[in-house]
């Protein structure tokens, strides 16, 4: 692996990272400047990986750094194939495969991480989903106003090519795993709470995942977990 990644400088200041996708209010946050570092094997140093670097890297290579590209990795686990494990801290989503392997995808997460940890499931999925901006966003952002009634699915839609809707039991959690029209944001903490993947990856994940699949969200953000 040429690049490792790690998250730094993020703090949780809100009760729940609400997701733009469903139009839920995004609460005020005390978050520090979000940031990711990646390990540069040439200099053997951790280097900042911010929005500017991500854009220039993507412009130069037409893809994200190697750590965040889709790849099969060794992954010893007791979870059965088909389970999704989300590590927001390292910006990885694992889809468990047979033989102690997993497909690892790079993800972008919310400015405040995922906001919670626990076990949910894929309740439903959608291809080229409609995006409806939250009322607050409609009120403050003229660009969002024109989509107050819902932006149809397509290449400019913030939800990208596919969406996996995460449920707890039969209840929609308001969290989604979705695509993005901004692939250079993979590896960053930029969205408003959901898990974003580039469109090729979310399409690949969608093709492999069954409704009902178990989704484990790791402890990043677990300070907000009930009982902690």
């Amino acid at each position: 692996m040429a690049f490792l990644s790690q998250s730094r400088g993020r703090a949780f200041g809100m009760k729940m990272a609400a997701c733009l996708a469903l139009g839920v209010a995004v609460f005020a946050t005390l978050a520090y400047a979000a940031g990711t570092q990646i390990f540069d094997p040439k200099t053997r140093k951790w280097v900042e990986y911010d929005r500017k670097k991500a854009r220039s890297y993507y412009a130069a290579h037409q893809q994200v750094p190697e750590a965040f590209r889709r790849q099969i990795v060794k992954f010893r686990t007791a979870e059965k194939p088909g389970t999704i494990i989300i590590d927001g801290n390292q910006h990885f989503l694992y889809l468990v495969q047979p033989g102690f392997t997993a497909i690892r995808y790079g993800i972008g997460v919310g400015r405040d991480g995922f906001g919670w940890a626990g076990i949910v499931k894929v309740g439903r999925t959608a291809e080229w989903p409609t995006w409806t901006p939250p009322a607050e966003m409609v009120a403050r952002d003229p660009n969002a106003r024109k989509w107050a009634g819902g932006q149809p699915g397509g290449p400019d839609n913030p939800l990208g090519a596919r969406a996996l809707y995460l449920y707890q039991g039969d209840q929609d959690t308001i969290y989604r795993i979705h695509g993005t029209p901004e692939p250079w944001t993979i590896g960053l903490d930029v969205s408003s709470g959901c898990i974003r993947m580039n469109n090729d990856d979310v399409t690949d994940l969608h093709s492999r995942v069954a409704v009902g699949a178990k989704v484990i969200v790791l402890m990043q953000g677990a300070s907000l977990y009930k009982g902690v």
Partner: protein, 321 residues
């Protein structure tokens, strides 16, 4: 189930009536099943073993440990397959020593519990002893949420060990330097998997026998050995408001073990069952195999138990004597 248990004691007429109403026959015996894998396997081995050797109808029912104990006391439940001590010392004292409504099998399976880390954590990041957890510089590498402070998973919210781990963290002093996380075991174990896959450090509550020792290179953190004089535990159930402030345990867990428990009423009603349960002699290795089979190989607890029974006719024979 209260209805079923009443049925069991109320004679043929009631049984016939309820059967007519579609409820079905009640089991002769109810085995409480905890939510961890070896407990699930052993509950089912007990069920199929007793059904095969003693010809009784046995029901396995999932429930929490304290509910099982209340059921053993009231007569609604007959067996708990895996009672951990010292975790449940106070519960054992109440039901076994004082009320005498519950009995423990004389056969014990030795176990360990404490804090573990991936080998990488101990060798590369120097976190080897619980004292290292008091050093914020060392524990900052355990940070997963970007606030600069490390996190340690101390178990599931429902486990009897979890409040004790919180007491230990406070007593040792690392409750001040790391954030203590409580969440389901699957989340804790998946975090270990992800840490191992990326060579990222991680410290977590661990117990053996457990399959995680077969999945990853796991090292137990060292700590001062157990001293009963320093082990003062008040559980939340005993004092919901002040259990933490009243407790202190700046030492390792006592050498742990677990045993099968059964209701005194059951031993009087079905002495052969009590004898069978008292003869069960699982080894730590067998318990680890059970844990691995159910959690890693995804085997169904009932199917696994039936295979186990088929392969271990000699053991069943010995337990039946």
């Amino acid at each position: 189930m209260v209805g079923k248990r009443l049925l069991r004691r109320s004679g043929v007429a009631l049984v016939s009536l309820m059967t007519f109403c579609g409820t079905g026959f009640a089991a002769d015996l109810v085995v409480g099943m905890p939510n961890w894998p070896s407990g699930q396997a052993s509950a089912n081995i007990i069920k199929y073993g007793i059904e095969k050797k003693l010809g009784l109808d046995v029901e396995v029912r999932e429930m929490g440990t304290l509910i099982i104990f209340a059921g053993l006391d009231s007569g609604d439940v007959d067996v708990h397959p895996e009672v951990w001590q010292p975790n449940l010392d106070s519960v054992v004292k109440k039901y076994v020593d004082e009320r005498k409504s519950v009995q423990l099998s004389p056969k014990k399976v030795t176990a360990t519990q404490g804090l573990c880390a991936t080998r990488e954590t101990t060798e590369k990041f120097g976190i080897k002893d619980v004292a290292d957890l008091k050093d914020p510089m060392k524990t900052s590498v355990l940070d997963t949420d970007g606030d600069g402070q490390g996190e340690v998973w101390i178990g599931a919210e429902t486990w009897s060990s979890t409040p004790i781990e919180r007491i230990r963290a406070r007593s040792y002093g690392y409750a001040e330097t790391v954030k203590l996380l409580e969440m389901p075991e699957d989340v804790g174990m998946a975090a270990v998997d992800a840490a191992a896959a990326t060579n990222t450090p991680m410290v977590f509550y661990c117990y053996s026998p457990h399959h995680v020792f077969n999945l990853h290179e796991i090292v137990e953190l060292t700590e001062p050995e157990h001293d009963q004089a320093k082990w003062n535990i008040v559980l939340p159930a005993e004092d919901p408001a002040n259990w933490l402030s009243k407790s202190s345990a700046p030492v390792a867990w006592a050498p742990s073990h677990f045993q099968i428990a059964f209701a005194t009423k059951t031993s009087e009603r079905l002495p052969k069952v009590a004898s069978f349960l008292s003869n069960i002699d699982f080894t730590p290795e067998e318990i680890t195999e059970m844990s691995y089979a159910l959690e890693v190989e995804r085997q169904d607890p009932a199917a696994y138990a039936q295979q186990w029974i088929a392969k271990h006719a000699d053991r069943l024979e010995a337990w039946s004597k």
